[in-house]
Amino acid sequence: MAQNQEKDTTTFSLTSFVPQGIKFGVDGFGLIRTGINPNLTTIEGKAEFDFKKYIGVFETGVYTNTIDSLPKYRYNISGSFFKIGIDANLLHKSEDKSVFTFGLRYGRARQTDKLQYRINDPVYGFTDNLSAVNSKIGGGWVEMVVGLQVEIFNNLYLGYSARYKLGLRFKQQEFVPFEMAGYGRTETVSQKNSTWGFNYYLLYSIQWEGK
């Protein structure tokens, strides 16, 4: 009897770490922005591992952007990023397959960015064009994420996530990076050390255990 109980407990704990399904998704909002703005490429995808109540999440993407405001400045960035984290599915007992989540992420980015700029020095009375480069710098941050997904067709989901990003740390080289791949603006006057993000996902689900 005691032996059986021990066996059951062992079986339960092992199966708890086997996902019941996986979803693959692409960020449609980033693709739309990429299509609209010829200077911008932001492509982001994600994989979700369904543990019923909890969802393991891996997100990755690439980001390139050119902001041209010459003669004042021209800013170029090219980088990639990934985020890992976990979501709690608040609708895991729901009959339909909708998902409403709250979760956390840890993000890392690696990027090279360049700033060409003009300096007007009123004291010395000169105007000069200078440039600065951050080569392959890294950065890290955390995110609080809330998301919603609805099945719109067989195994096809539409969902969005809103993110509060904070705690950005990076090591600049020749200038303060204006953007961090996967994070956004590093700092504005009104928002120091935090920013908001938004994704609009199209996901495909593969389930090997019924919900």
Partner: protein
């Protein structure tokens, strides 16, 4: 499902700032009682640029402007009493606050590397550091 798109345009409106930390302040004080002492400054100029910042005026403070082009500058202060040199080293860090802004100047690691005044006090707590000269 489509409502959040309405909020996107509200995110991250840019604002601009002009940082103003590119001066080394040199104050003149009395060696006897420490009070502010106006000194006739004949001229202040840097070795890197032609031109005087001050010309034959009584000053209690002079401001030595740093340039983003260099990482080290030397300033010559000429008073009726003597001719003194202040050498400053620093890092210039450009920063862009918003897409509509000019690039701002941030000076970091500002250090007085060489100074010829006889009696002085350097406030390193100040950014950039201030120099107090006692006559």
């Amino acid at each position: 499902m489509f409502l959040p798109l309405l909020f996107i345009s509200c995110l991250e409106e840019p604002e601009c700032v002009q940082l103003n930390n590119n001066y080394i302040k040199v104050s003149f004080k009395s060696a006897t009682d420490g009070t502010v002492l106006p000194v006739l400054v004949d001229s202040v100029f840097s070795e890197e640029y032609i031109g005087n910042f001050y010309k034959g005026t009584d000053e209690t403070d002079v401001y030595l402007p740093l340039s983003p082009v260099f990482q080290q500058m030397s300033f010559i202060l000429q008073t009726p009493y003597k001719r003194d040199t202040v050498q400053v080293s620093y890092n210039y860090l450009p920063k862009l606050y918003g897409t509509q802004c000019e690039v701002s100047a941030m000076y970091q690691n500002v250090e007085i590397t060489k100074i010829s005044f006889d009696s002085l006090k350097i406030n390193v707590d100040q950014i950039p550091p201030n120099v107090q000269v006692y006559y």
